[in-house]
Subunit: 339 residues, 2 copies
């Protein structure tokens, strides 16, 4: 049938429900990285991944719409990127090199398939940027009222012992690689300015803000220093941790696990030490090193480890107790019913 | 203050939101099995699991309230059990012995912590029953409007090649281990009788039904023959699959991957061959074996593999095409807004 030259075709987007699981997967799978360690990829009951040193590191993390992100602020590409980044960072924090991810998605039926393609692109590009050779080897796709991304990530220790939280020793240098407080600053801007007149998250306001301030992009799609994890292990790091809940809170975990005092120097925490201490979700790396070590990669000293000398294991700043840092709960002010 | 002797204390249950993440985890973690292959368990950024033959098998699966289960019909213990069972079965279907699970939960804030303890008990007892020595090595806990259970499971191939879907050869015996159609029959009973007068899922009706009919318990907490997966691999199985979508549909996957005809014998499919062909979620094992093999464990012959002789790869029953089996979508009649 001939169509009038003036017609404009506006096709509704193909949704997950409309396309069905198999057709949706057929569009997603080719976009995912195969990975250097993948012996059998997606398509069977399970995948097979190489574990050259006879062990593998594994971590899992859920991102839930509402408590963990808002689609008005994060694009589907951002979601895929951040889901990969936060898990790759946990693998790196053990001193392991990431080898593979599996990704399970639960999405509303009306989600456009194109959104899941973009999410797959974010996963792929995040792996390429932070852990080249890391593959997405399997997954699952379900329908849910609540958009949920579950990533499980694997790593190879390359023959080394895992770097745990409990190995910091008096005399060690405390060091950090990666940003401190940028993600929290970006989120604070979104809460204040990425909303409409009624305080509801607004995609247009967020996009305008993102063009002006790079911390917005850092919050929704951070680039943690993944390669510095294995580098720290090779250099002899005595403890290491992914900074997901803010420096003060996370350093406290290492202090308690290692039964030491961790003293941070405010002069080494950048322009805004309070923000560096409190802000979560940078997924930077915190590590302690013996005093004679040349700090590897992007690590810079931020303090020292001391004996607790009869006191409680704790974090101090310039030798004094800081104010009590609360738990990092970025969306605590947020009602589930909003936006 | 003295209380009158007649007072009855009815404490509201402690919820996840009330207890907070750390206190909730402190109550769950001690209930989980450590596992024989666990080198480092929960508590750090990631866990470490042994992979003795230098590879590991991995599969992931989401269970979402609504599309996959209803709390009126499944107890939290059932949920934990089924989440473990369905993933252990996918590992077994590669011919691997399960070694570990990680479990990520997204739950409404008002969920009682006791429910998560029961879910942990279900995970533990399912591992003990189907895969002794398999541990739960890590996880994540988030708040969500939609109860979601994401399990990732790992297995050890013990030096063997993975048993894939594409290895069935003309002349092979087709065999099955485990129930066929019981889970679907149980779900059908729940849809018809486990509801109140308005058709809404009803816990009391479902509990009464469960006491009368064992297929209800099989649907909400099946016990697939996990040990028969490695046994089939040792016996020389040429292909294998977890039966999650019904025998006809899943056999078709093997037929297409292997480019063969799979002929099933209705006389070998029990009292109700139609139910055996169509019913999903038994998580039984489908496998093909060379003709001279003594079938291991609980496997029994249900048909043969033939050359496709110029025709399409397909499933036949007694030599003829069966009616087209639809995809297994157990809750397809279900509105998300109901119960």
């Amino acid at each position: 049938m001939e169509r009038p030259a003036t017609s404009v075709d506006v096709e509704p987007p193909v949704t997950v429900q409309g396309a069905g699981e198999l057709a949706t997967l057929a569009r997603i799978l080719p976009r995912l990285p195969r990975g250097d360690r993948t012996e059998l990829g997606p398509g069977d009951d399970a995948a097979v991944v190489a574990a050259p040193d006879g062990r593998f590191v594994v971590t899992t993390d859920l991102m839930v719409h509402g408590p963990d992100f808002r689609l008005a602020w994060s694009t589907p590409y951002d979601l895929g990127w951040k889901a990969a980044a936060s898990n790759l960072s946990d693998v790196a924090a053990m001193g392991a090199a990431p080898t593979a991810l599996v990704v399970a998605l639960a999405v509303p039926g009306e989600t456009p398939v194109a959104d899941l393609e973009a999410l797959a692109d974010g996963l792929r590009e995040a792996c390429a940027a932070m852990a080249p050779g890391c593959g997405v080897v399997g997954g699952d796709l379900s329908v849910s009222a609540t958009l949920t991304v579950a990533v499980t990530a694997f790593g190879d220790l390359e023959g080394r012992a895992p770097v745990r939280r409990d190995g910091a020793r008096a005399g060690d240098v405390v060091a950090v690689s990666g940003a401190l407080g940028r993600s929290a600053r970006g989120l604070d801007l979104l809460f204040r300015l990425g909303v409409d007149h009624e305080g509801v998250p607004d995609a247009r306001a967020a996009a305008a803000l993102r063009r002006r301030d790079p911390d917005i992009g850092w919050h929704v799609a951070p680039t943690p220093p993944v390669a510095d994890g294995p580098a720290a292990a090779r250099a002899g790091a005595t403890s290491m941790l992914d900074l997901s809940d803010g420096l003060a809170l996370d350093a406290g975990r290492v202090a308690r696990a290692s039964d030491v005092v961790i003293d941070l120097s405010s002069s080494l925490l950048g322009d805004d030490p309070a923000a560096a201490l409190a802000g979560g979700e940078d997924h930077s790396l915190f590590a302690t090193f013996p005093p004679d070590v040349d700090l590897p990669g992007g690590f810079r000293a931020v303090g020292h480890v001391h004996d607790r000398a009869g006191g409680a294991p704790r974090v101090t700043v310039d030798g004094s107790e800081p104010g009590e840092p609360g738990g990092w709960d970025p969306y605590r002010l947020w009602s589930g019913a909003r936006g």
